[in-house]
């Protein structure tokens, strides 16, 4: 612009233009700063959440020391707190959730990318994604009123008959007699009570299936068609193409998707709060009731004071750090595929 301005332009006009340019530059800079400040709020939210829970949980960490992580006592009446039971509950439910959600999600992704006829893919994937839209409190209700009684009536007695040392039908199975340790994971004082780690894990599995399967479906679609066609041309079956071509090609992203689901499962509160039972007795059994970090906070924080409140903040900090690491790994692995694609 300046190049076209000749010398005979009146100087008043030139100063006006210079002033306007200066104003634009200044406005641009302020605008950029404001936007950047807003973006930094994202960073601040994460640092703040970690910092505030650590700050208020410091008292508990300081009082109980390292034993906070290994003690199974959670006793508000004597003001003694240990995080082992909530940690075990969180890990146990997330483990069960992945155990069921990963194969099912894999099957769904396989169905949607390789098997289903074109016209069916849209509706089915929309329906699965609809599962992700249902609020978690609804999963919790359904879990408490419908699914837990279902488990109590049909699933848990069967599991106990086959895998526990004191089955409801009185006959200890061959498996329990010959495989050590197995009975430990399947014992329960109340064979016909549905709540527990197992039930909560299953509800979580249903919740995270849409997330894992949609990531898997997306990454399966990134496999170059040439690669698959070559394998088919050599006479491979659909399964062989998937298992030997698609899965190795997308491995890191698939694991990333699984970690994303794990991140969700670890931090989920409402779906678990109803069906876990909220007991603080240590047990190895998946069929026993328990509590998770998130459900403990949801149930106790309202009335908690002093050291109990601090202990709740401390386990919140642990939860946040663990989910942060899990999600970090998930995102890094998902990103690796994008680099591979050249995006």
């Amino acid at each position: 612009m300046h190049a076209t301005v000749s010398n005979d332009v009146p100087s008043a006009e030139r100063t006006a233009e210079a002033a306007r340019n200066a104003k634009d530059t200044r406005d641009d800079r302020i605008f950029g700063w404001v936007l950047k400040a807003c973006a930094l709020l994202v960073l601040l939210a994460l640092v703040g959440a970690a910092g505030s829970t650590l700050w208020l949980g410091w008292d508990a960490f300081h009082t109980f020391g390292f034993g906070f992580l290994t003690s199974a006592t959670w006793d508000p009446s004597n003001d003694q707190y240990g995080a082992l039971v909530p940690i075990m509950g969180t890990v146990g439910t997330a483990f069960i959730a992945l155990l069921f959600a990963v194969p099912v999600s894999f099957g769904i992704a396989l169905f949607l990318t390789e098997i289903a006829p074109q016209w069916l893919r849209g509706p089915v994937s929309s329906a699965i994604e609809l599962l992700a839209g249902i609020p978690s409190i609804i999963y919790g209700m359904w879990g408490l009123f419908i699914f837990a009684p279902f488990v109590a009536e049909h699933v848990k007695p069967w599991l106990m008959n086959n895998f526990s040392a004191d089955p409801p039908d009185g006959q200890v199975s061959w498996l329990v007699q010959h495989v050590p340790w197995i009975a430990r994971f399947f014992s329960s004082e109340y064979p016909f009570f549905g709540a527990g780690v197992f039930t909560a894990g299953l509800v979580l599995a249903v919740m995270i299936i849409p997330f894992i399967s949609s990531v898997m479906r997306e990454v399966f679609q990134t496999v170059p068609t040439r690669l698959k066609e070559s394998a088919y041309a050599l006479g491979s079956s659909t399964w062989e193409v998937v298992w030997d071509i698609v899965v190795p090609y997308t491995r890191t992203a698939v694991i990333g998707g699984i970690f994303l689901g794990l991140g969700r499962a670890l931090g989920e509160t409402m779906a678990v709060a109803f069906v876990l039972g909220n007991t603080f007795k240590f047990s190895w059994s998946f069929l026993e009731t328990g509590s998770s970090i998130a459900s403990t906070i949801a149930n106790q924080f309202g009335e908690a004071q002093g050291l109990q409140r601090s202990s709740l903040m401390a386990i919140a900090f642990l939860l946040f750090v663990v989910t942060f690491i899990v999600l970090l790994i998930a995102r890094l692995m998902l990103r690796r595929l994008k680099t591979k694609e050249g995006k």
Binding site: V42, I146, S237, A316
Partner: protein, 288 residues
């Protein structure tokens, strides 16, 4: 020999395909099961008093105050999150190109997207609810404002991400054309880019609204809940998901019926919102 290998491969393939179809059927079955229970149990409890009476009257009451409270909390959340989210997304898409900070923030935003909402609730508790005692006479007060801020924290990453993605879809020629006419960058951003990405950004806001409408955990220690009709955001505020939570825990079956009815209303609202967001604007937005 080769026939048996061939047969084995074929059987393996058929088994795998069947299992895959079975997995899909299981997924769809659970969706149908949950929706069916919510619909049938919810419809049974759907009475006019649900929308006219408040929760204070228990069995004879309704959920009117919870619905109003939810509406206020959601509007607060969206009003706080939208300007910040759109600004942050714009910075990521338009300004962060040459800085290392940009990819980092984008990455952290993705993590915030799946961070446990209960921890975010506790964060807002410590920065809004606890300090409230300095403003009042030493009393810690839960409030609608705190609930709105907690919901805003959950809506924020959704809005940031969609804004960022939508702005990056705007063709670069548009930017070049505007800049070559001497338009300052802020004007270009506000009046041309954000406007042309508008429908995508609105989709993001609707998705964020759908997301926060069902959130319960962060409201427990911020808005806290209340059995009365309140329009004052400085007061404790009831919300639909939280009343569902309380009423589900209640031992009385009559109260459970109200919880189902609330669940029905909430699910319909959330699903309608996400359907509108997905189909009305016909744009591709991923929201994992």
């Amino acid at each position: 020999m080769s026939t048996s290998l061939y047969t084995r491969r074929r059987v393996k393939n058929i088994v795998a395909m069947t299992l895959s179809m079975l997995a899909t059927a299981i997924g769809l079955l659970f969706l149908a099961w949950i929706l069916w229970e919510t619909l049938s149990q919810g419809l049974a409890g759907l009475k006019p008093q649900l929308f006219t009476k408040i929760t204070a009257y228990r069995e004879e009451g309704g959920l009117a105050n919870a619905m109003v409270g939810s509406l206020i909390l959601n509007v607060l959340g969206i009003l706080i999150a939208t300007p910040i989210g759109v600004a942050a997304g714009t910075w990521l898409a338009e300004y962060s190109l040459r800085s290392k900070l940009g990819p980092t923030i984008r990455f952290l935003n993705d993590i915030l997207l799946s961070a446990p909402s209960i921890v975010l609730g506790l964060f807002v508790y410590t920065i809004v609810v606890l300090p409230s005692k300095y403003l009042t006479d030493g009393e810690v007060t839960f409030s609608g404002i705190a609930g709105g801020i907690a919901l805003a924290l959950i809506a924020l990453p959704v809005i940031v991400r969609t804004t960022d993605e939508m702005l990056r879809l705007v063709p670069g020629t548009l930017r070049e054309a505007a800049l070559s006419l001497g338009v300052p960058q802020w004007k270009l951003t506000m009046q041309i880019l954000v406007r042309s990405a508008r429908s995508g950004i609105v989709t993001g806001i609707l998705l964020a609204l759908a997301r926060i409408s069902g959130e319960t955990a962060p409201l427990l220690f911020t808005a806290f809940g209340n059995n009365f009709m309140t329009f004052n955001p400085l007061d404790k505020m009831p919300s639909l998901p939280q009343v569902i939570y309380e009423y589900t825990k209640d031992p009385s079956p009559d109260i459970n019926v109200l919880a189902w009815a609330g669940a029905f209303v909430l699910t319909m609202f959330v699903l309608a919102l996400s359907l509108i967001a997905r189909f009305a604007f016909r744009s591709k937005v991923s929201h994992d």
